[in-house]
């Protein structure tokens, strides 16, 4: 809206036109904005598996900090990414991943942007316990059977990945476009499947200690079991799968610039 008005005013005089164009450019930079997506449920909604204090800090502090830092870096111009329009958060993650080996600013942008994406995705991967969705009656359920043989085999693989990610990391169920199959993977730090060609994330679990420490302390395996058996939002996983096989990339992210400009 803002820059549409600016464009109208640009056409009349040369010097103000130049100033206008610079203004539009700066406005476009400032408008690349990653939202702090609200929690899809109350902070008490996942109890007793993940408790209110955890969700309050995890969503309200950790996730928010990643979002704020990402926006701050995009706004300060230290990384030459935010200058182009029509960037999604996925684009920013992929570009900063490519740049990060040569630049600490890009590493910081990657870490924060990827963590912003990872957390938004993670919170959507959960829903209050006791919901009636089940993996069996879904297309992704059928795909799990095709790729792993049985649900139990998938479960064992996912649980093992989550428990053996050493340090801070994530475990994933991904769709691999190259093989039309599902895979379990694990990543460290902020890394996620978006930077692996052809991998579309369907489901994730955060195994950074902050995800479970208040509720489970060192007992990561108990947290992982609770997540897998009580909390997975299979409707969301199904949506991601259907989108992935339909070729659009999945994950539910919006094109940022379209929303804001």
């Amino acid at each position: 809206m803002h820059s549409t008005m600016a464009r109208h005013q640009c056409s009349y005089h040369l010097l103000p036109t130049v100033a206008c164009l610079i203004g539009v450019f700066v406005t476009a930079l400032a408008d690349i904005h990653v939202p702090h997506e609200p929690l899809p449920y109350a902070t008490t909604a996942l109890e007793p598996h993940i408790n209110h204090p955890t969700l309050e800090v995890h969503h309200g502090k950790h996730y928010k900090k990643y979002v704020d830092t990402t926006n701050s870096i995009l706004g300060d111009g230290s990384v030459g990414i935010g200058t182009k329009k029509k960037k999604s958060l996925e684009d920013i993650i992929r570009e900063s991943a490519r740049l990060k080996s040569s630049s600490t600013a890009s590493t910081a942008l990657f870490n924060n942007a990827a963590q912003a994406w990872n957390h938004a995705f993670y919170f959507k991967c959960m829903r209050p316990p006791g919901s009636s969705d089940a993996v069996t009656a879904t297309k992704v359920g059928a795909a799990i059977k095709r790729s792993f043989g049985t649900y139990q085999t998938f479960r064992d693989s996912f649980v093992k990945a989550a428990n053996t990610a050493f340090g801070s990391g994530w475990a994933w169920l991904v769709y691999d476009t190259a093989t039309d199959a599902l895979l379990v993977t694990k990543t460290i730090g902020a890394d996620n499947p978006l930077t692996t060609a052809g991998h579309v994330p369907l489901l994730t679990i955060d195994v950074w200690e902050h995800a479970y420490y208040l509720d489970y302390q060192n007992m990561r395996a108990t947290y992982v079991d609770a997540f897998v058996d009580k909390l997975i939002n299979w409707e969301f996983v199904e949506q991601n799968f259907v989108t992935a096989v339909g070729g659009e990339g999945g994950g539910g992210s919006k094109k940022l610039a379209d929303e804001e400009l």
Binding site: A108, N111, F166, S168, E209, L214
Partner: protein, 245 residues
Amino acid sequence: AERAASPRRDILNKVAGAAAVVAAPGVAGAYEVPDLLYPFEGLEPYIDAPTMKIHHDKHHATYVTNVNKATEGKDEVPILDLMADALEAGPGIRNSGGGHYNHAFFWDEMAPHDKASKTKPSAQLDELINKSFGSMDEMKEKFEARAAPGALFGSGWVWICVNQKGDKLELVGTPNQDNPLMKGVLDEVMFPILGLDVWEHAYYLKYQNRRPEYVSNWWNVVDWDKVSENCKYAVDNHAGVPVRG
């Protein structure tokens, strides 16, 4: 290992020595979690008792269990001796052996505040700090910056080390349970004299996301006498400091 004389350490050393003789020598699987030199609540309010108990009895204990599994059937050597080639030895030694060394090192460099506050760097350590960082305050500032969540992203440790030559101190961070003694982790092997665990489990119960507050509070429990001993050892021997367990 030469350590500064103190009645408590003398007794502990003698007891540890006697225990080592009594325990079957040469049998791997003999790594142990060393007892803390202070009670779990001893580092309050800077590090809380529940954290100390879980950190010591669960996290450290798991590393010990796993490094014992990884060294089953092998000759027993001090955990320090496994550090240099830890990357080559594989993830069991690297992660769990590193975890055992790092935590054993960590417990002994700290003391309850009423004791810690009476300790200070030796003349040797003081000189090295001033030479390497300008002053103690500047060293602390740089250390805190290196330990910030953006600078040490994820899990890891921040260290002050004596360099190879023994004439300068270096400030470094290492990921996960790596440490500066391990070949291949940093540009050169160096010898830690002070280290801080910034894995979330080290501070989450009390501080949650507020890692900078944990780090700045931690100076209150640093035993500078022990750090000075570590420094003297590293400079004299061009080697890493041995640890109990």
